[in-house]
């Protein structure tokens, strides 16, 4: 990698000509913060700017590529029967890597079940994410290791946990921030509204990051709202912004600003990352039942990885070497994940009775003992 940082900054266009092109808010397509067009051109935004080194830019690219590769491998592993289910993030890499890379180590993340890219940014070992999808645990990692909470499946619940955690951060006088991920579908849950209320009333340092991927399983976003989701925040007394969720630079810039805002005591903010679920809801889903292929094709033209690649290429920010190395790294990651999953042991039967209570429970002890005796009786019969 030889491109120096001066080179990286040079090709950035002056904002005036591009800005018009980048955002033309209309009634159903309101203002979208964008810093990199689908064609890979850098544009400026009056409120959000970003200044990245080539290393950082390549880093973002690498994150997205590796995340996508990991995700694809997980999908494959599901097809091969190694996982029971997989929820792919395909298409949402920019939203997740952009927001994930905006975080500081001491910030805390509350994900849904689809935040594999954010997990990546938090240095959570990707194989950790697979345990629940393989059916060997219901999450299982220690959230405090990487300040990355367990995946939450009950839609919207985690937004309240994030708010409470952020209330605690404020109580501690710490300057960390908290980020809560949720989907367009989740925006309808009462819990999310209550999280908005609590965070506003207590001025909690939490950023609500809504990935509007246009679908909640088979339901388009119009089943959840009749106005753009980012506008929801206003009525609770904090700002909301819509960002191009397929533009990793914009996602990074906007999330950074929101986190900084939270840290400096200005309270919550809502970010709607306008993106697209390129794949099925999960491997159990069949999107042909409810959406047209053309829609997917439209969004393919906005692919988050392609546009950054186009930019890197156009600005000579990455050479062939970089891409080749990354390809190899991807393969290695995929292999590592594959091997790790395949060798992931089934939990011991007795695990049923573990970790139900921290301080024990008489009935659990009784049932554990009965179960052990019952199992032993088979072993004896087997003799």
């Amino acid at each position: 990698m030889t491109v120096d940082s001066t080179a990286a900054r040079k090709p950035r266009r002056s904002s005036s000509t591009k800005r018009t092109r980048a955002k033309q808010p209309t009634a159903d397509q309101p203002e979208l913060v964008q810093l990199l067009t689908p064609e890979g051109e850098r544009v400026e935004h009056p409120d959000y700017s970003i200044d990245l080194t080539p290393d950082e830019l390549r880093g973002l690219y690498r994150d997205m590529v590796l995340t996508r590769r990991f995700d694809a491998e997980a999908t494959t592993l599901q097809r091969q029967g190694e996982l029971g289910l997989w929820a792919s993030l395909l298409g949402q890499e920019a939203a997740q890597i952009g927001s994930g890379r905006a975080l500081r180590d001491d910030d805390y993340v509350f994900p849904t079940y689809r935040e594999h890219g954010v997990a990546w940014c938090r240095n959570v070992d990707p194989t950790n994410l697979l345990g629940m999808f393989r059916g060997v645990n219901n999450g299982g990692w220690d959230p405090s290791t990487n300040n990355f909470h367990l995946y939450t499946i009950v839609i919207g619940s985690q937004t309240l946990h994030a708010t409470g955690y952020a209330m605690g951060v404020a109580k501690d006088g710490a300057d960390s921030a908290v980020i809560a991920y949720f989907g367009d579908g989740a925006s309808s849950q009462g819990d999310v509204a209550e999280a908005f209320t609590f965070s506003a009333v207590y001025n909690a340092p939490v950023v609500f990051f809504c990935q509007n991927n246009q679908w909640a399983i088979s339901e388009p976003t119009e089943r959840q709202t009749r106005v753009p989701l980012y506008q929801r925040a206003q009525g609770y007394g904090f700002p909301g912004v819509r960002v191009d969720g397929n533009d990793v630079l914009a996602c990074l810039a906007v999330t950074r600003a929101a986190l900084e805002r939270a840290r400096s005591g200005q309270g919550p903010m809502l970010i709607e990352a306008f993106t697209y679920r390129m794949g099925a809801h999960t491997t159990s889903d069949d999107p042909t039942k409810y959406r047209a292929d053309e829609e997917r094709e439209l969004w393919e033209a906005k692919d988050p990885i392609l546009r950054l690649r186009a930019y890197l290429a156009a600005e000579n920010l990455a050479d062939e070497d970089f891409f080749t190395t990354l390809e190899q790294e991807s393969d290695a990651l995929a292999k590592r994940v594959r091997d790790a999953v395949r060798s992931m042991p089934d939990p011991d039967n007795m695990a049923i009775f573990e970790h139900i209570y921290a301080d024990g429970h008489a009935l659990v002890d009784e049932e554990r003992a009965q179960f052990a005796a019952y199992q032993a009786s088979f072993a004896q019969e087997g003799h």
Partner: protein
């Protein structure tokens, strides 16, 4: 078979679908509501094709908010509709729990009978499908304890069809628990028969040495257990309870007076579960007839485990036979 009868071999999914379709056709106040029930036909395809044929005004994709689904269903019922609500999975009914317990269940009493609440809540429930957390639970006791609700669960396609017809016809709220791992089990459905009462237990397998009482997904396990026991010369009566509220205690009592031994089987945790209620009441009714305590086989006092452990967690053939042996050993 009488003239005009229609007998078809259907899966439980198809039977419920046919039953919903029939109700949509015959009563224009019937509505289907839930997440993804429209174009997708629900994640289990129970409502497949219904929106296409009856339109978006009758088969309604709702926002992703269970309290909202049940709460608006209550309002629609007040307006004269008969909503059939789908909760996507057992573990996702809890956001609606307040509306179900404090509103739906109590509205009729609150109005001294002047309001009726013909709302059916369909919940695919139970485990055995290798799913992730919240997709395999059996929360029926949490509803059966609450006055004002009725809880039923079919174990076969015929009951699936007819009990849905009866649930929709009922002027009371009915929680209709669908044994999701049996969804694709096929059996005969006579769509022109006259069904028995909704809340009556049925003798699934007659026997004389011991009664196995179960409902929903566990009926098949008990049938298999009875067959296995028969090979060892034990005559097991299997009762399909069909209804968890009310429970047909008369039916159970009649069986137990004959067999003198009872084992209750369900997937839900044993602790504070339906088996406790059956055991307590039948022991009271049959104190001098029981030769053994009523035994219970069910889930442990543990969260439903990750799927690689579910076979150990779920009451299977062996655990049922073990309980049968223990009861017979008294």
């Amino acid at each position: 078979m009488a003239a005009g009868t229609t007998v078809e071999k259907l899966s439980i999914v198809k039977a419920i679908n046919a039953s919903l379709r029939k109700s949509l056709e015959t009563d224009n106040k019937v509505l289907i509501m839930g997440e993804d029930v429209g174009k997708l036909g629900g994640v289990f395809r129970v409502t497949d094709g219904l929106q296409k044929d009856f339109g978006e005004e009758r088969v309604i994709d709702t926002p992703l908010a269970e309290s909202g689904i049940v709460g608006t269903a209550i309002g629609l019922a007040l307006r004269g509709y008969r909503p059939v609500v789908e909760i996507q999975f057992d573990g996702f009914v809890f956001p609606a729990y307040d509306q179900i317990v404090t509103q739906l269940a109590k509205m009729h009493a609150r109005a001294l009978g002047k309001i009726k609440m013909p709302v059916v809540i369909r919940i695919p429930y139970g485990g055995g499908i290798g799913a992730v957390e919240h997709h395999s639970e059996s929360p029926e006791a949490l509803f059966a304890h609450v006055a004002g609700l009725k809880c039923v669960s079919p174990s076969n396609a015929s009951d699936a069809y007819w009990m849905m017809q009866q649930a929709i016809a009922s002027d009371d709220p009915v929680i209709y628990f669908e044994p999701k791992r049996r969804y694709h089990d096929r059996s005969e459905v006579n769509t022109t028969a006259i069904p028995g009462p909704l809340h009556a237990a049925r003798v699934e397998v007659p026997g004389s040495d011991l009664t196995l009482a179960a409902y929903g997904p566990m009926v098949k396990v008990c049938r298999d257990a009875a067959a296995a026991a028969a090979e060892e010369g034990k005559s097991i009566e299997v009762l399909d309870l069909r209804s968890m509220s009310p429970i047909d205690f008369d039916g159970i009592e009649a069986s137990v007076r004959k067999t003198r031994r009872l084992v209750v089987v369900h997937e839900a945790p044993v602790f504070y579960g339906a088996g406790a209620e059956v055991a307590a009441r039948i022991t009271e009714r049959c104190f001098y007839h029981l030769e053994a305590p009523v035994l219970r086989v069910g889930g442990y006092h543990a969260p439903y485990p990750p799927s690689r452990l579910e076979d150990e967690y779920l009451p299977g053939l062996d655990r049922v036979l073990d309980a049968v042996d223990r009861a017979l050993a008294y």
